[in-house]
């Protein structure tokens, strides 16, 4: 190829010179962005693969958040206003790739804060966090431990909020007395299993069988469902299964004739589940993540700016893609922005200190930094959480429930089951 170019009249010297100029100019935009009035935020989550549904919609939500904030004048720090730019890195839910991504985001992109899904990827990143002091966030507080000083869980206390769904069910459908559960055998599934077990025990709902764990590579869920419903439970609990599992499991429950109650942490893309089953079958399906066009989100307790408008903008740009995490990373950015403006600085130490002063403005209401008993560190922001049910084909918030109130009454049960599944901070490897 090069010989052809040279033959066309281009000398080797000219070729090398033009190549060097091109390479330098290609590097200029990045350099100018880093030097200008722009704060870069790292987005280190799975954007491809089986867990992408808990990464990609979050990045899409963050882009909308950034446009709104930048249009409103940006982030106001001590030395002026800054626009926000997200720099993403697809960790494919792989710890090694997450570590590479964290290093790249800090060293090459100069980010001020990194948001992660967490879970299996956090162990890969923790050494980078320890070494650099970078402030990270996770959606999964089960990543927290006394050693994770620069890791916060400000959006959701997965899986602890799952107790609110079970508590609501027990109060509103007291005829439901028995339950079974299935989960994928991984860092997301197991702490959630322990939480649901505690919640069912606290609610006086009997588990008919030990939780059925399946390999994350499972594709055919008919045997799992056959086992689940073999003892005719009132409730089938889908734990924190990924949407790639929730959908086929729900379809199998429908096809194998289950007519009882289903409860799940998430029901992403539930419209597709309705299409594969029926509106009647999905009626009353309880989960924990609302659509943001829900009228209940317009209350004074909500600390998320214009949730209905955000939902509309998201669905206009990404029709059918709204999921559990679409708003969560954006809500973390609300907290980060407030803390940075309070501190007058984007430096990780200053933001972390400002963030943890007093009550936190969680999306679903004011909340407290909490977690020493469960996580060994008070780095999880905990308050109220919504219980959502599908009604006539649409997700609707049924209630907001207090996680700290539940924990005050039943915390011992949660610790018991977390210990049984080796999920306490001092048991996790």
């Amino acid at each position: 190829m090069i010989s052809k170019i040279v033959k066309s009249g281009l000398t080797r010297r000219t070729f090398l010179k033009s190549t060097a100029v091109t390479a330098m100019s290609a590097g200029l935009p990045a350099a100018s962005l880093a030097a200008g009035n722009t704060i870069r935020i790292g987005f280190l989550a799975p954007l491809t693969g089986a867990v992408a549904a808990w990464g990609k919609p979050g990045l899409d939500g963050c882009q909308i958040w950034a446009e709104r904030v930048n249009a409103a004048g940006g982030i106001k720090l001590g030395d002026g206003s800054y626009d926000v730019e997200f720099v993403s890195y697809d960790n494919e839910y792989d710890p090694a790739k997450a570590r590479t991504g964290a290093t790249k985001l800090i060293r090459e992109d100069g980010v001020s804060f990194i948001m992660m899904l967490g879970g299996d990827t956090w162990p890969g990143v923790q050494p980078v966090a320890d070494k650099t002091g970078m402030l990270f966030s996770t959606l999964l507080p089960s990543d927290l431990s006394p050693d994770t000083n620069t890791l916060i869980a400000p959006a959701e206390v997965h899986p602890i909020y799952n107790v609110t769904g079970v508590e609501w069910l027990a109060e509103n459908k007291p005829e439901l007395k028995t339950a079974v559960m299935c989960a994928q055998d991984d860092a997301l599934g197991l702490p959630s299993v322990a939480t649901y077990l505690a919640a069912f025990e606290a609610a006086g709902i009997e588990m008919l069988d030990a939780p059925l764990l399946f390999d994350p590579a499972t594709t055919d869920f008919a045997p799992v469902v056959t086992r689940l419903i073999s003892k005719s439970p009132d409730i089938v609990c889908l734990d924190t299964c990924y949407s790639d599992y929730v959908h086929p499991i729900a379809e199998q429950l429908f096809q194998q004739g289950f007519t009882g109650q289903i409860i799940s942490c998430t029901a992403d893309f539930y419209d597709q589940m309705i299409a594969k089953t029926s509106e009647e079958f999905m009626e009353g399906f309880v989960f924990q993540f609302p659509d943001f066009d829900d009228p209940a989100l317009n209350g004074d307790n909500i600390n998320f700016t214009d949730p209905n408008g955000f939902y509309e903008a998201f669905n206009t740009r990404h029709p059918g893609q709204w999921g559990a995490v679409s708003w969560e990373y954006a809500s973390i950015m609300d907290l980060w922005k407030a803390a940075a403006e309070k501190a007058g600085s984007a430096s990780p130490d200053a933001v972390a200190a400002a963030m943890k002063e007093g009550k936190g403005k969680h999306a679903f209401g004011d909340a407290d930094w909490w977690g020493t008993e469960l996580f060994g560190i008070d780095n999880a922001l905990v308050g109220d959480w919504p219980v959502v049910a599908i009604e006539s084909g649409k997700a609707r918030i049924k209630d907001f429930r207090s996680i700290p109130d539940w924990y005050a009454k039943h915390g011992d049960l949660l610790i018991k089951h977390m210990q049984a599944y080796d999920q306490m901070w001092n048991q996790r490897s």
Partner: protein, 289 residues
């Protein structure tokens, strides 16, 4: 308990059906061409995405989409034979490495064409055959079972009763002797690739409405297929079918009566036991292994 056994049995028959379609295709390609096709799981995935494109998006009738999917994936097999395996036929590892590269290309194309997330496919039918209240067979699963029986029977007839089939078997047993008898090794390789890839494609197409279709769905399928062909005997079509049934029975029953994680361990243990007791597999011969 009888209901539970019966439902589990039906689940196992379905699993055996799609696993055997994939595994037989893989064995056929290895038998005739001597190539371990690592991209076989992605051919399964390509069949599933053919349904996404033709049935879910273009709204063609499901079985028309399945037929086109079979032809499409069969043609992908022909492309692999011509572009990858034929030029590298003298390189013992060349075909294997090339198939890994092709696997990545197919995954990347799926991501570019359809995105990274699970794709929604409308149900083909919601009809369910109800034997008892707790023993049910969804008709969409019955399609897979019928397709496996029909296609594998047709393949058996083709291989045992037709001249092309004899040529294929002769090429698999001794390519040089077959060539001396006037059999075109290139032609038999093409036929093997078309049929082998087509079987994976139709398995993917028929199961697409029943599973989560995503660019990485071929991984677990190829792992299962490798376990099956090792247990059955590398190169043995009969072995692949018997091992598919055995693996599906063991995996399904262990999942139902114990749990899914243990089922995977038992499946792998089954392979290890066979390798220790009969290293050539249940139906394999020493020269083929």
């Amino acid at each position: 308990m009888l209901d539970l056994l019966a439902q589990t049995g039906l689940n196992a028959v379905y699993a055996a059906s799609y696993i055997s379609l994939v595994a037989v295709g893989l064995v056929l390609i290895f038998g005739v061409m001597g190539v371990i096709n690592f991209a076989h799981g992605e051919l399964f995935m390509a069949g599933a995405y053919a349904i996404v494109a033709l049935y879910a998006e273009l709204h063609l009738p499901f079985f028309v989409a399945v037929a086109i999917g079979l032809l499409f994936v069969g043609c992908l097999g022909l492309l692999m034979e011509k572009a990858l395996f034929r030029p590298l036929k003298d390189n013992p590892l060349g075909g294997l490495v090339a198939s890994i590269g092709f696997l990545m290309i197919l995954q990347a194309l799926a991501v570019m064409g359809f995105g990274v997330r699970m794709v929604h496919i409308p149900p083909v039918t919601q009809e369910v055959i109800v034997f008892t209240e707790k023993v049910r067979l969804p008709v969409a699963r019955l399609y897979v079972i019928i397709a496996a029986i029909v296609l594998l029977s047709a393949l058996w007839y083709f291989l045992k009763r037709t001249k092309f089939g004899w040529a294929l078997r002769a090429s698999a047993q001794d390519p040089e002797a077959a060539a001396l008898q006037g059999i075109s090794i290139t032609m038999t390789a093409r036929i093997a690739m078309f049929i082998g890839a087509g079987l994976a494609g139709i398995a993917g197409a028929l199961t697409a409405p029943l599973v989560s279709v995503n660019p990485h769905m071929g991984h677990s399928v190829i792992v299962t297929a490798f376990i099956v062909i090792i247990v059955g005997g590398v190169g043995s079509l009969e072995g692949a079918i018997v091992a598919s049934v055995a693996y599906a029975l063991v995996h399904t029953f262990v999942t139902t009566f114990y749990d899914g994680v243990l089922a995977d361990i038992v499946g792998l243990s089954l392979m290890l036991v066979v390798l220790i007791v009969k290293p050539t597999g249940l139906f394999g011969s020493a020269d083929r292994a």
